[in-house]
């Protein structure tokens, strides 16, 4: 990956390929029409111009373009690239199409922001990054949950040394993905995600590994055990459950990782917990709160009580904020908007994007290892 050599002309010309559910979040950011401007610090106007929305479906392309104020709708990517001449293309199509579309955009001279998983395997990603390098364009991937406030707070607590040395990171996602009424559970028109190596869990593997590595820092996980299960036995699904343990050496000693996905547990959960030599902290990205248990004033006798009081007050505060979040339509995609905001800042400044090629490769390689035969339980 190479940064742009000179500052680009503003506004940057942005285009979107794919108009599925996630496109509303990207288009909302690009059009400056997010319900509450969540996660975005700099106004989009003047920085970004939405020049095109492309989809194989004419009505979907037309609707996306009209709703979000794009200059034009396209049903052909080559025409989009030639006619709209975008500086940046958001590739939001099913994962199997990412490599071909991203390659086409990079070779046409556009930077590419791609939804996860950007490729199915790490070697494919290496090749795509090489294409970006040759084209002199930026290639980056949605590692959006790294940028949610809860995870940012955890990273800040680590950076401030509040938790001491990170010893363990545990990430748990519980979502009813096998629900027949959901987008993955419909047997009539199975989602393309089912064809990926981890099946429907592949939609979450990048979240797992990107957040894990963001909080542990660079770690060589030398020992991994991963149990991929299909507990419900639904034949549409390869797996509906992941239980993985990772043990490695970080910069300051041993680090454990625990990754859990469960389609049968309730309620919907995306919890992240960091345990360090000095304390622990946790967050939930779906019902956001932050809890930090560290030595408090009052010594070892009173510290646990102070922790309870402080965290109790914090939970009440988060409860009230979550009511406001719900009414004001703030969703767990706040991190995606913040990531896009920072990515555009970087593209304009000619600096590396917040999700670097090294981040993408590390996350992708770890996914490959979790799926490799030698680590499977």
């Amino acid at each position: 990956m190479t940064s742009t050599p000179a500052r680009p002309a503003l506004p940057l010309r942005a285009a979107v390929i794919g108009s599925g559910g996630i496109s509303r979040e990207h288009l909302g950011f690009l059009s400056g029409r997010l319900p509450s401007g969540r996660g975005v610090t700099t106004p989009v106007a003047g920085r970004i111009r939405l020049v095109g929305v492309a989809d194989l479906s004419p009505v979907a392309a037309r609707y996306g373009a009209s709703q979000f104020g794009a200059d034009r709708a396209y049903t052909d990517v080559a025409e989009l690239l030639a006619d709209a001449v975008p500086d940046v293309v958001h590739v939001l199509t099913p994962p199997q199409s990412h490599v071909a579309l991203a390659t086409q955009c990079l070779e046409a001279g556009a930077h590419v922001i791609c939804e996860k998983p950007i490729t199915t395997t790490a070697p494919e990603l290496e090749a795509l990054l090489a294409t970006a390098e040759t084209a002199g364009r930026v290639l980056t991937e949605s590692h959006n949950y790294r940028f949610n406030r809860g995870v940012v707070a955890l990273r800040d607590a680590i950076d401030r040394g509040e938790l001491g040395t990170v010893r363990e990171v545990e990430i748990r996602i519980a979502l009813p993905v096998t629900d027949p009424g959901g987008r993955f559970g419909d047997p009539n028109l199975p989602s393309p995600i089912h064809d990926l190596p981890a099946g429907v869990i592949h939609d979450f593997t990048t979240h797992f590994t990107s957040v894990l590595l963001h909080l542990t820092g660079p770690v060589d996980f030398s020992r991994i055990a991963a149990a991929w299960s299909n507990h419900a036995g639904n034949p549409l699904f390869r797996y509906d459950n992941l239980d993985a343990v990772l043990i490695g050496d970080g910069a300051s000693g041993p680090v454990h990782g625990r990754l859990r996905f469960d389609a049968g547990a309730a309620p919907d959960t995306f919890t992240v917990r960091v345990r360090g030599s000095g304390g622990w902290a946790e967050t939930d990205l779906y019902q956001p709160y932050n809890r930090t248990v560290v030595p408090r004033p009052g010594g070892s006798q009173l510290s646990p009580i102070v922790n309870h009081v402080v965290n109790g007050a914090s939970l009440v505060n988060d409860g009230v904020r979550n009511v406001a979040r719900k009414i004001l339509q703030q969703t767990p995609y706040e991190g995606l908007h913040r990531m896009l905001d920072l990515t555009y800042d970087a593209l304009i400044a000619g600096t590396p994007p917040p999700v670097t090629a090294a981040d993408m490769l590390a996350a992708s390689r770890l996914v490959d290892r979790l799926l490799s035969d030698e680590v499977r339980l």
Binding site: P58, V59, A60
Partner: protein, 348 residues
């Protein structure tokens, strides 16, 4: 005729299949690939001749795969399939993109006759004065951003219908049914809203734009027949479907409550909730720039679409389709209750 019926396993679709076969038409019934049951033909013929056949067609309209081939031999399409639940993306795929795929396949297959099923939801209710007659000339909602996903996607679907109908090779009629009721669909969204285990009964004296499912299904089949006639008088027309002698909310709710079990209700007068929702919207605009999102009955754009007192007519349907709603309200509720109880067959 051979009628290609989408949404054939649904509440309305299964009755359309029955009505079509009772009138001697053969039906190609679109059934999703994973569905185990297929719709049944009618037991008896209306008039002379044999009952029509039902041939299940296994396709999913959200994909073009196999669609054009599946239309082979069809004389007309009755397009009922739509996604009525789920988020916007789900309903957009199941209603709008599915319709785009179907119309594209019809063009490819050379099938030009379409009975396009729309809905009363497309009308602009917020800006319509109480007591106004909602006929086919009533304005549709041009700024539906605050309407529910169903109304938004059905409006987009109507745009596709009109584009399709603009071709010289096509024959199109758009049918807009009111609230379709029948078995397992007696206690519905025009009476109020669920509130935990209870039901908020909103309003009492508004006239309900109802059509009983068997009446409505027959009108849809009649429309397909009319489209096949030479010098077709209904090509390009929009036709509302409501029954005769429309009841008020109170009358209808009392009749239903006497026939089947209904949830315990909390009455809310229409002026009270209308005023409250209006104040909430004004406050949202003034204080929060309209960013706050509230439940449907607290959003005037959605509330008025369900409960505003208005007037309705079926004169055009009767005139152009030769339709006469077969069952009156009391008989329709009786048949629905019997079908729910499984004690009687809603035969014809």
């Amino acid at each position: 005729m051979k009628l290609y019926v989408t949404g054939s396993t649904g509440f309305v679709g299964s009755h359309v299949v029955a009505a079509a076969t009772a009138r001697g038409h053969d039906v190609a019934a679109v059934v999703r690939p994973a569905r185990s049951t297929v719709p049944e033909p009618a037991e008896q013929r209306t008039g002379d001749g044999p009952v029509g056949s039902v041939d299940p067609v296994r396709v999913d309209l959200r994909s073009r795969r196999g669609l054009a081939e599946s239309l082979d031999g069809a004389d007309a399409v009755i397009h009922l399939a739509a996604a009525k639940a789920g988020d916007f993306a789900t309903q957009f795929a199941g209603t709008v993109m599915a319709t785009e795929n179907l119309l594209g396949a019809m063009t490819e297959a050379g099938v030009g006759r379409l009975v396009a099923i729309s809905t009363f939801s497309v009308y602009d209710y917020l800006n319509t004065r109480p007591g106004t007659l909602i006929d086919e000339q009533a304005p549709i909602d041009r700024s539906p951003a605050l309407r529910d996903e169903y109304a938004q996607t059905k409006l987009l679907q109507e745009e596709l219908y009109r584009e399709f109908g603009a071709s010289a090779d096509t024959r199109l009629v758009i049918l807009r049914p009111g609230m379709i009721y029948g078995e397992h669909n007696l206690w519905h969204a025009l009476l109020g809203a669920e509130f935990g285990p209870r039901f908020l009964r909103i309003g009492n004296s508004a006239t309900l734009p109802l059509t009983y499912v068997e009446n409505c299904a027959e009108a849809m089949v009649l429309a397909a027949e009319r489209l096949g006639e030479p010098d077709d008088p209904i090509d390009g027309e929009v036709i509302n479907l409501v029954d005769d002698d429309l009841p008020t909310q109170r009358t209808y709710a009392d009749l239903v409550a006497a026939a089947v079990e209904t949830p315990p209700s909390i009455p809310i007068p229409w002026p009270v909730i209308r005023t409250a929702a209006g104040a909430l919207k004004a406050g949202n605009q003034a204080l929060l720039g309209g960013r706050a999102k509230f439940p449907g009955i607290a959003v005037p754009d959605r509330l008025h679409a369900r409960f505003k007192p208005l007037r309705y007519t079926n004169a055009k349907a009767k005139r152009l389709l030769g339709w006469q709603p077969r069952y009156g309200l009391a008989e329709a509720i009786r048949r629905s209750a019997a079908a729910e109880a499984g004690t009687g067959q809603a035969d014809r």
